[in-house]
């Protein structure tokens, strides 16, 4: 069966874990992995897995986009680098799946709004943040039952699972996640908190979601909706579990989650990274299915001067 050919930008932990997932896909075929460090272990690993690699970053990929028919590119570099990468690739008709906090394109949290992306004519889809992927489905599970005045999420991640990029700009996490709790989760106001815990052995990602509903919460309907949403997320992250709750206290609804990863490349405790790569792969697969059916393609823009 024909597959949609992809490139990965950024051969770090996330890129490598994503590569493992793409290798298993029935509709996606990873062809290129590019980075900027010739000594990168990630590039070496990608070569061993049969990918074409370049240490010249996106510049090394551009001459091959057309000949290798690259239709989707995953970017797991940084918000700053993503802006330039997107500018170079989007005009060539490549759909960008953005795993950085750049958020140039619309936020995508698959069980909540993946379907909508197809109709938007987008060239760039943003995967929010790890905490957002883990918690926004729960905010949405409450807000689809009744109005949520305020949504707050607390993501606790093991120290080993968060890299220097996130640490250097931790405010990006809180801002982007809070914005998406509102926009995708459906809360009128949003807040996000991240806690880094260095315990050994590393703790599995934990997330708490608090919603304040406008009216008294409909406990039975919310509980049912939460369980249904958990099952949706489990389709692509099997280790996504309801640990406790939903707990009701006045207008407060609290949900306690644990996210265990698949352990593809990253260890299982790093559910925060796994849920990002799994969500990105799932998003790309939906687009790929539409591309293969001839119903969708990324618009090729006029900016031909972007070609090398």
């Amino acid at each position: 069966m024909k597959k949609i050919r992809c490139a990965l930008i950024g051969p770090g932990n996330i890129g490598t874990d994503l590569l493992y997932k793409l290798k298993r896909s029935e509709v996606l075929e990873p062809i290129w992995m590019v980075g900027i460090d010739p000594l990168s272990e990630g590039l070496e690993r990608a070569r061993q897995l049969g990918l074409k690699t370049s240490d010249q970053g996106v510049a090394g990929l551009l001459p091959h986009v057309d000949t290798d028919d690259i239709r989707i590119a995953f970017d797991s570099t940084s918000a700053y680098a993503h802006a330039a990468n997107a500018k170079a690739l989007e005009p060539l008709g490549v759909l960008m799946i953005d795993l950085t906090p750049a958020a140039i394109g619309p936020y995508c949290v698959p069980p909540v709004n993946l379907g909508e992306q197809i109709g938007l004519g987008v060239t760039n889809v943003n995967m929010v943040t790890c905490g957002g992927q883990a918690t926004i489905p729960m905010v949405a599970a409450v807000s689809r039952v009744q109005a949520v005045e305020y949504g707050e999420i607390i993501a606790t991640v093991s120290s080993k699972s968060i890299g220097p990029g996130t640490r250097k700009n931790i405010d990006e996490f809180t801002r982007t996640t809070a914005a998406a709790v509102k926009k995708i989760g459906g809360a009128a106001r949003g807040k996000a908190i991240i806690i880094v815990n260095p315990a050994e052995p590393p703790l599995i990602m934990r997330d708490t979601v608090h919603c304040l509903t406008v009216e008294e919460p409909d406990q039975a309907a919310i509980t049912e909706s939460v369980h249904r949403m958990i099952a949706e997320v489990q389709k692509y992250v099997p280790g996504y579990r309801l640990k406790n709750g939903p707990v009701f206290d006045g207008r407060r609804v609290s949900i306690f989650l644990e996210v265990e990863g698949l352990g593809d490349y990253l260890p299982k405790y790093a559910g925060n990274l796994d849920i990002m790569t799994a969500a990105a792969a799932r998003t790309a697969e939906l687009f790929a299915q539409e591309m293969l059916a001839g119903r969708w393609s990324a618009p090729v823009l006029e900016a031909a001067e972007a070609l090398p």
Binding site: I170, T208, F256
Partner: protein
């Protein structure tokens, strides 16, 4: 022991009052503007040089998770700062909870000091906030929380990171009130030696094992020149090092603080104590924080979970310590309580 042998007479230190920030915890962040003004002006008049004013969990702490404050950080800061005759006001910022946006707001309100707090092994999440604090010309402090969870060499490494971002002062913070004087001396002296005289060292204690004063003295002996205290002891857990007691002990030892003992004693007695909702003191729960090494502000959350779920607050706090939770993990308290309820049910079944 070293600290008893050391003669500290003549040493000059800066005391930093916590009652209007750490003291927000026992007040469930509901201190009124009038109470803030009354305590802050009293402290200013008593010669306390630095006063912290923020939500108990720092700028941006206003939340379901930590509790909604009676007023916004901005309202509190704007109420207190213009009244200060000599004292400078500081704000706390915990990256992951607050952001540089709140730091800019606090700077616009006129704070003189920003204290950027991280868990003691995670200093690198403070880079952007410390950089900005320094760039804005603020007295910029790195605050290594739960310092009992790391040995001296690790703290030295993390303190160096904060100094490299631009912190002019780094704290060893005993958030759990777990440390004993030897622990404090070992950590503070190691960090002081490693950072040299250009960087001030501070110590923040909690009184959960009644070590607030002795630990603070041990810190001074180890080279600390800033000591956090709370007037009337109003802070999380069994409170912080009580300011008035520490000032009295410093006077006896000849340590120079510049604070008027009787005036600060009056602020504690006449302005702080009357606003307490319950006595902030060592009891079985606050003692457990220090004993189990749990973050002091977990106290009220554990008591609330005890009332709601019928499991003892002490058991919850011991479990929080066993799970190696860190500052800010208040959300785990209800979760732990629910786990304990389930464990008890299955034990009965």
């Amino acid at each position: 022991m070293t600290l008893l042998a050391g003669n500290l007479a003549g040493r000059k230190i800066t005391v930093h009052d916590m009652s209007l920030r750490d003291g927000m915890h026992p007040k469930r962040h509901k201190i009124t503007l009038e109470q803030m003004r009354s305590i802050a002006t009293g402290l200013d008049d008593a010669g306390v040089p630095l006063i912290e004013v923020t939500h108990g969990d720092g700028l941006g702490g206003d939340s379901v998770n930590y509790g909604f404050a009676a007023e916004s950080d901005e309202t509190y800061l704007r109420a207190v700062i213009p009244l200060m005759k000599q004292a400078k006001v500081s704000a706390l910022l915990i990256p992951g909870i607050g952001t540089v946006d709140e730091l800019r707001m606090a700077a616009a309100c006129g704070i003189g000091t920003i204290r950027v707090a991280t868990h003691c092994t995670e200093a690198d999440v403070s880079e952007q906030h410390i950089l900005l604090g320094r760039k804005m010309g603020l007295d910029t402090v790195g605050f290594l929380m739960m310092a009992h969870m790391a040995e001296a060499p690790k703290l030295v490494e993390q303190a160096k990171l904060m100094a490299s971002y631009g912190a002019n002062c780094v704290y060893v913070t005993d958030s759990a009130g777990y440390m004993l004087p030897e622990d404090v001396y070992a950590r503070v002296s190691a960090v002081h030696e490693a950072l040299g005289d250009g960087i001030e060292i501070g110590f923040h204690g909690h009184h959960n094992l009644a070590m607030g004063i002795s630990n603070s003295i041990a810190a001074v002996a180890g080279g600390a020149s800033r000591i956090d205290c709370a007037c009337g002891g109003m802070g999380a857990g069994a409170g912080n090092t009580p300011m008035e007691v520490f000032i009295a002990v410093c006077e006896r030892m000849g340590i120079v603080t510049g604070v008027d003992l009787f005036k600060v004693t009056d602020v504690a007695e006449d302005r702080v104590t009357p606003i307490l909702d319950f006595p902030v003191r060592i009891d079985r729960n606050s003692l457990t924080l220090g004993y189990a090494g749990a973050y002091s502000s977990f106290l009220l959350f554990a008591k609330r979970a005890e009332a709601k779920y019928g499991v003892s607050a002490r058991d919850i706090l011991v479990e929080m310590g066993r799970r190696k939770t860190v500052g800010g993990q208040e959300d785990m308290i209800e979760d732990v309580a629910l786990d304990l309820v389930r464990a008890r049910r299955s034990a009965v079944a």
